[in-house]
Amino acid sequence: MFNPSTPVLVVDDMMTMRKLVSKICKEIGFTTISEAADGALAWTAIQNANPPIGLVISDWNMPNATGIDLVKRIRADSRFNGIPFLMVTAEAEQHQVVEALKAGVDNYVVKPFSAPVLKEKLEAIYNKRLAK
């Protein structure tokens, strides 16, 4: 599993969802959690973060830049394209899951979700991308 000190960026335009995802991240054990209210603000945060962001958990539908816009920007930039990206969204249709995976997300959680489900998805990402 991810190191608890991994800097996590939670991206959602809904304040309650940021609170909820951050709360679950804390329950899972993460200690460094920051938040952004849309994809554009998240992109700025990623560029300025020190220490660098080690995990992005993002909503899909947001103003200014969507979660899909954000993951595409991250994947297109050699400085950040290795950041694991989990999409958390109410968009549950199969074609949307495919679109997100094609854009470069590592895994996908459909709202509503429980803490164990989020943890399971994060473990899957870690095992796939980062486990040595």
């Binding site: 809904m14 304040m15 969802m17 909820l20 709360k23 539908n61 109410a90 709202k111 429980s114």
Partner: protein, 277 residues
């Protein structure tokens, strides 16, 4: 009901309450002749005759004349006739099972409602149930709240919305538009947010008010999957929140409003689905 695509250009499909004359593949006069005898046997007791065809179907004048004579004869004998048009050219794959059945079912069902053979209630239940199931699931998973739906009722648009906080999201498809709303009294909403976010909330603040929109968004997302599998074609939309005592949301067009109250261990609440065809 028989929904299999007929293999001949024109075919009479009978059921216990109505008959459907299915035209396809550009029928000729001889094709009409083949069904005339069967059509002549129809009586008002056979129920209405639906004539189903693609609106770009081609027919020679001789075929049109024969068909017109047959249908006029049916009408003279007091048999109700209705046209079911399939609006665009059919992709060949849609004329084969399983797609042929789905396409004909949707067109036929509306005709059955219009001719009062079935009540629109069955359509409403089909449309409303996914929202009820989604509400129960979302509240259970995301807010640890057990909710139980009560009896749906129709509601007038002038009536104030139920409760103090309403999450709302647009329902848009090619054939209708409307909204899904989730409505909470303030204490119910505070209880739900306290459970969802794991800290006690005692007043409605900006920090938590958008949660109603997010819950609506989740209910919409879950129901959308189910409804789009049935062909409703509902598009993605962004939620918003309205709050205050006796608040209401007015629409510029007349809508059908179905109100479903819920009881729950966080308190009472309701969902309301509004739509205009």
């Amino acid at each position: 009901m028989a929904f299999d695509q007929p293999e001949t250009p024109i075919q009479l499909v009978k059921s216990s309450k109505f008959c459907t004359l299915v035209l396809q593949q550009n029928p000729g006069p001889a094709d009409v002749d083949q069904v005339v005898t069967e059509i002549q046997k129809l009586t008002p007791d056979s129920g209405p005759l639906f004539i189903q065809m693609q609106h770009l179907i081609k027919m020679e004048p001789a075929t049109q004349d024969k068909l017109r004579a047959v249908i006029e004869d049916v009408q003279k004998r007091g048999i109700q006739t209705s046209l079911i048009l399939i609006p665009e050219p059919i992709n060949p794959i849609l004329t084969q099972a399983p797609f042929s059945g789905m396409r004909q079912y949707q067109a036929l069902r509306q005709a059955l409602i219009d001719t009062k053979i079935i009540q629109p209630k069955s359509l409403d239940v089909d449309f409303i149930n996914p929202f009820i199931f989604a509400t129960v699931k979302v509240l259970k998973v995301q807010a640890m709240t057990d909710a139980k739906p009560g009896a749906p009722t129709l509601r007038k648009s002038e009536e104030p919305l139920y409760g103090d906080v309403t999450g709302i999201i647009g329902l848009t498809s090619e054939s209708f538009s409307g909204q899904i709303m989730i409505q909470f009294p303030s204490q119910t909403y505070l209880n739900i947010m306290s459970k969802m976010l794991g800290e006690p909330f005692t007043e409605l603040t900006q920090d938590i008010i958008d949660g109603a929109g997010e819950l609506t968004n989740m209910i919409f997302g879950q129901a959308k999957v189910n409804l789009n599998e049935k062909g409703y074609g509902i598009k993605t939309a962004i939620p918003s929140v309205v709050s205050g005592k006796n608040h209401n949301i007015k629409s510029s067009v007349e809508t059908t409003n179905v109100f479903i109250p819920f009881s729950s261990d966080s308190g009472p609440m309701a969902i309301e689905v509004r739509w205009t065809p």
